[in-house]
């Protein structure tokens, strides 16, 4: 347990020391919010301000950036340089090592989301709903599912291509999930694809709660689809993950 806590602490510290993580993972969602919020934030759609749509969307974007983009490339890097191997030679259980990375990712994503909420509310006058516990539950499902996908990528893709693969997947999921473009502007073919993606369901779940004030019971289907992707990634990862 002491090992898990210490490993988590180190994972957070290491991420905060890396400039590319600070800029691309932590700062990017906030910059997008400021940019698009300033451009369109006050426009209305179906009687709701655009800013009320994009804050929950960027919250999902932040989760994916940390849990999918950064986690996959970190794991691939640590695999290539035998860091995972070295830690595997200690009494720290391997599951704890992965858990530490997931918890660290959740903390970082949580910090970004807090900043998004502050900016959204105070700079762009977003009117968001939703109870805190319900929101945390939805975000937890998102973090776990996207982290499972990130870990599966990091442990199976060749280390030198993992960064590209991880980033490509998380950007594609962001666009197709409706983070940047509202789904009703999608052509119908693309919309059909999007309906299968965990990102679309996470964005939908977060907007249902924060934008329209629906309860946790309204987003069960979204959580189920997202969790199914996570479960599939766990099964795939358990079979194919390479520690060294």
């Amino acid at each position: 347990m002491k090992g898990l806590l210490h490993q988590t602490y180190i994972e957070v510290r290491l991420q905060l020391r890396r400039r590319e993580v600070l800029v691309f993972t932590l700062l990017l969602p906030v910059l997008f919010l400021i940019f698009f919020g300033a451009l369109y934030g006050s426009q209305k759609q179906h009687g709701v301000s655009y800013i009320d749509y994009i804050v929950p969307g960027y919250a999902v974007f932040a989760v994916m950036a940390v849990a999918l983009g950064t986690l996959s490339s970190n794991i691939a890097f640590e695999r290539e340089f035998k860091i995972l191997k070295r830690l595997g030679g200690t009494p720290l259980p391997r599951l704890y090592l992965l858990l530490a990375k997931i918890i660290a990712g959740a903390l970082l994503a949580g910090a970004v989301i807090a900043v998004l909420l502050l900016f959204g509310t105070f700079a762009f006058h977003a009117h968001l709903h939703g109870n805190i516990l319900g929101s945390l539950a939805v975000l937890a499902v998102g973090v776990l599912s996207f982290a499972a996908i990130g870990i599966a990528i990091g442990g199976t893709v060749k280390p030198d291509s993992a960064v590209a693969v991880g980033n490509l997947i998380y950007l594609a999921l962001s666009f197709l999930g409706g983070v940047f473009i509202q789904l009703d502007q999608f052509p119908s073919g693309l919309l059909t694809v999007a309906r299968f993606l965990p990102s679309e369901h996470m964005v939908h779940a977060m907007q249902s709660m924060w934008t329209f004030g629906e309860g946790l019971n309204q987003v069960g289907g979204d959580l189920l689809v997202t969790a199914a992707w996570g479960a599939a990634a766990v099964i795939f990862g358990a079979r194919r993950f390479r520690w060294m």
Binding site: G3, H6, R13, R17, K85, R86, G89, T90, P91, L92
Partner: protein, 320 residues
């Protein structure tokens, strides 16, 4: 992990003086038999060196003992534990140093020490670990800014973070300068006096000769010879006679002397004769010197070194 708690009791008797047991170990990668029927054991508090060229199977043998690889056949036991089935309990009591000594680039030396200490129930004191490897003044340095030798010293300290009873050191001094290498040898000897069992791999002949209680020479997955360095060297019947004489003497002159096995002119004017009977050869050589008036200087007779044994057994230079 919870599920391994039930299996913490070692299968073999704890009282066994042999902390490492390897029996008929086999491990293949595809068609290559990396380890091909290796057996040895190491007693508590001994330093055991696996000596061999790269690709000999040393690392594979050690990684089976560390629980990284599953053998195809044979038995491996460390402190009585099966390294795979009881890996978690075993890792609490062993320390290891891999050939790859990389860590997170942005971790500080002191943080790495504290991190590894947090994994063990009875960790070694952080200050004494840093002092042991001479990195006290680098406590706040990022790993990525350390030199190769410093990284290796940190890796050595991390191997000792849990106060191990057995330490596996895979080429522990490869990136160190000679001074640091000698210091590291002293640390390893110090561990032995505390009763720590040490299994190290090396391709430095000198390291094995100076440090190890037992040496096993390995090549192509097999052990070619095993014993104390002295035993191994005594087992060789050959001596080497070296001397200086004018350059370009016809080597057949020396080849014809009694008991001579082999003659080399190592550089112009420096000759080395391998002989089965040094007295016989030197007597004839001095006869030749008196007869022909050819000057001979710096005559020396030396026993074979571990390197000579190694070359005789593996037929190769140490492959790097």
């Amino acid at each position: 992990m919870a599920q391994s708690e039930a299996a913490v009791e070692p299968t073999a008797a704890e009282a066994s003086p042999e902390t490492i047991i390897v029996r008929d170990l086999v491990k293949s990668y595809g068609s290559i038999r990396a380890v091909d029927g290796v057996s040895f054991s190491v007693s508590r508090g001994q330093i055991f060196a696996l000596l061999g060229p790269n690709g000999a199977g040393k690392t594979t043998t050690v990684e089976i003992l560390e629980g990284y690889r599953k053998p195809d056949a044979g038995t491996a036991r460390v402190l009585g534990y099966d390294p795979i089935a009881q890996g978690h309990a075993m890792k609490e009591r062993i320390g290891l140093m891999l050939q790859d000594t990389d860590l997170y680039g942005k971790i500080k030396v002191g943080e790495a020490i504290d991190l590894f200490r947090s994994f063990y129930s009875h960790p070694q004191d952080a200050g004494s670990l840093l002092a042991l490897v001479g990195l006290e003044s680098h406590r706040g340095a990022f790993f990525e800014n350390l030199s190769g030798g410093q990284k290796q010293r940190l890796s050595f300290a991390l191997a000792l973070a849990g106060n191990p009873e057995v330490a596996f050191l895979d080429e522990p001094t490869a990136a160190m300068d000679p001074q640091m290498r000698h210091q590291t040898w002293d640390i390893i000897r110090g561990l032995r006096t505390q009763g720590v069992t040490i299994l190290l791999t090396t391709h430095y002949m000198e390291e094995a000769q100076r440090l190890a209680d037992q040496v096993a020479i390995m090549d192509h997955g097999r052990l070619l010879a095993m014993g104390t360095p002295e035993d191994l060297m005594a087992g060789s019947a050959h001596d080497i006679v070296t001397f200086r004489a004018p350059a370009g003497v016809d080597l057949r002159t020396f080849q014809g002397l009694p008991s001579v096995v082999n003659v080399r002119e190592e550089r112009p004017g420096l000759y080395a004769i391998t002989t089965t009977d040094a007295l016989d050869t030197v007597g004839a050589l001095s006869g030749w010197h008196v007869r022909t008036g050819t000057p001979i200087e710096g005559l020396r007779v030396s026993g074979a070194t571990l390197e000579d044994i190694f070359l005789n057994l593996t037929g190769t230079e140490v492959r790097d």
